[in-house]
Amino acid sequence: MTENRHKSIGLSDETAVEMYKTMLLARRLDERMWLLNRSGQIPFVISCQGQEAAQVGAAFALDRSKDYVLPYYRDMGVVLSFGMTAADIMLSGFAKAEDPNSGGRQMPGHFGQKKNRIVTGSSPVTTQVPHAVGIALAGKMEKKDLVTFVTFGEGSSNQGDFHEGANFAGVHKLPVIFMCENNKYAISVPVEKQLACEKVSDRAQGYGMPGFTINGNDPIEVYKYVKEAAERARRGEGPTLIETITYRLTAHSSDDDDRAYRSREEVEQAKSNDPILTFKAYLKDTGAMDEKMEKAIDAEITRQVDEATEYAESAPYAKPEDALTHVYAEEQ
């Protein structure tokens, strides 16, 4: 029997299985979106595949009733954990009027949903980082013990906005968790051509915060580090930088062909460490999930993805005149 690591950090079997379900839902939705894209039904996909453990592990470690998340475009696991539904994701993929992110105005993956404190992002990467800092500053001003959680890739940790935001948070000791999902490629350029330092977490030192590099394929480990960072933030001890090492199992997007820059052997090797498979095996080995539960979860998720797809497919598009709304406050 494998060592039960989730119980030792205070996670029940039920919560661990809930995390697995959320990871699997993200994976199956993503896979469905690729099928829809390849059959010409949706214009674009940008994937979470391979990074679900880091996303879900982190999101579950936050207070999902009051913390803010500022995800980047791969973070389907984060937003599903924070209350977005399968139908919400599909409505965005189809760019339908009912898409809760933006009513079909933005690319899929540009998540935003005020009721769940998911703050919208923009296509130039990492520009949401200083927003997390400002939201944390607002929380501190109001003496709320909220934490803001912002994610980005290793490539985008080179952007000025990351450094300006991290420094601001460090100087003002703000409750921000900076989480890098290091999937080893910024589209085609590998990490060794992105970073002059060895690890993204080395950058934490420059901003007066602790930095950790951890296994992003293990949701239990990610949960543990993010939980500690959140507790530190709530105690007023400031921000943390966590680098989760993952791998992007798909091409960068539906418009990218990764065969130009990654060997098939490398991708196959990564697939053998697919966090969906390894976490499933772990849950079964520890007895948290049995064969019957696994089958029931599979069936339930397939049903959810089917229903979400059908719902989004038949939902109406926005009216042309909708493009003219919400640029400025509407006349009273």
């Binding site: 803010y68 992110n101 933006s102 009513g103 105005r105 933005q106 540009h110 935003g112 949903q113 005020k114 703050v119 919208t120 923009s122 296509s123 130039p124 520009t127 980082v129 200083p130 927003h131 997390a132 800092v133 400002g134 939201i135 944390a136 500053l137 607002a138 929380g139 001003m141 109001e142 803001t148 000025g160 906005d161 300006e164 935001g165 420094n167 601001f168 100087v171 709304t325 919400h326 640029v327 400025y328 406050a329 509407e330």
Partner: protein
Amino acid sequence: MAMEMRDLPKKETKDQMLTIVQAVNDGMRTLLETDDRIMLLGEDIGKNGGVFRATEGLQEVFGADRVVDTPLSEAGIIGASVGLAVNGFKPIAEIQFLGFIYPAYEQVMTHVSRLRMRTMGRYTVPMVIRAPYGAGVRAPEIHSDSVEALFTHMPGIKVVCPSTPYDAKGLLIAAAEDPDPVLMLEPMRSYRAKREEVPSGRYTVEIGKGKRVKEGTDITLIAWGAMMPVVEKAAEQAEKSGISCDVIDLRTLYPLDRDLIAESVQKTGRAVIVHEAHFTGGLGNDIVSMINDTSFLYLRAPIERVTGFDVPVPFFALEEHFLPTPARVVQAIEKAVHF
């Protein structure tokens, strides 16, 4: 200057004689006093009171939590302000010189101006960005930029530019009350040029409304900010040769006061637009288009533009040659009138 400001009565009297920069200071003081959600962010704005003294004394009164000396990091200032606004605060961010906004331009273009649209109004960014702009104070190159057109081009943000102390305070308070983000350009050349009576307490100048500063019949002169004194001087000179000028201070650069422009040009049949920004892509082009759309058949002469040239603002020894002068404006007036 600093002593003068401290010596001014703050609340006791109804009106105070203030310069533009003092009126901006008084506007922020009024906002901080009356709205807990107002915060000021910027470089050197706290202990130092701002490089132009616009925030003089405010950190002493309202504390370092509400008047925040930020790291030297423009994208950080604007980005953190977006986060504050998203979470219910009303930040007023100072960019030390408008030309220093370029590192934060991305934040303004992709977030400040678009968050509302992107989220269908669920998240909004009610914030004010203040920036001294323009040449004429012997500041080098980037410090002298007047690039309002970069911002009037992007939907989702409003742009105001006062030329008087009264308007400076009133527009600042209106900007802070506005549900949308507002960029307020402050004419640094006019910061201390003159004083006028400024009411104490809260009042606003409506965003989107220009002001006729002189009534006339022969030609319309349109300008804003630091170009207003230039245009007013030109109007005085033109009057001496019997040309009566209708002088408009736009005050808001987006949205433009279409009605006021049309009404004036339809009366005079001629117009000169004056801005210190570069000629190509300048806001003058939009005003010409607006006059064509509203008043083409009233025109008695082609519309004239007097602007900076299509070169970066030159260093101080040459800036007088770059900036529009009363003489250049008078030349344009005469060209239009004698067409």
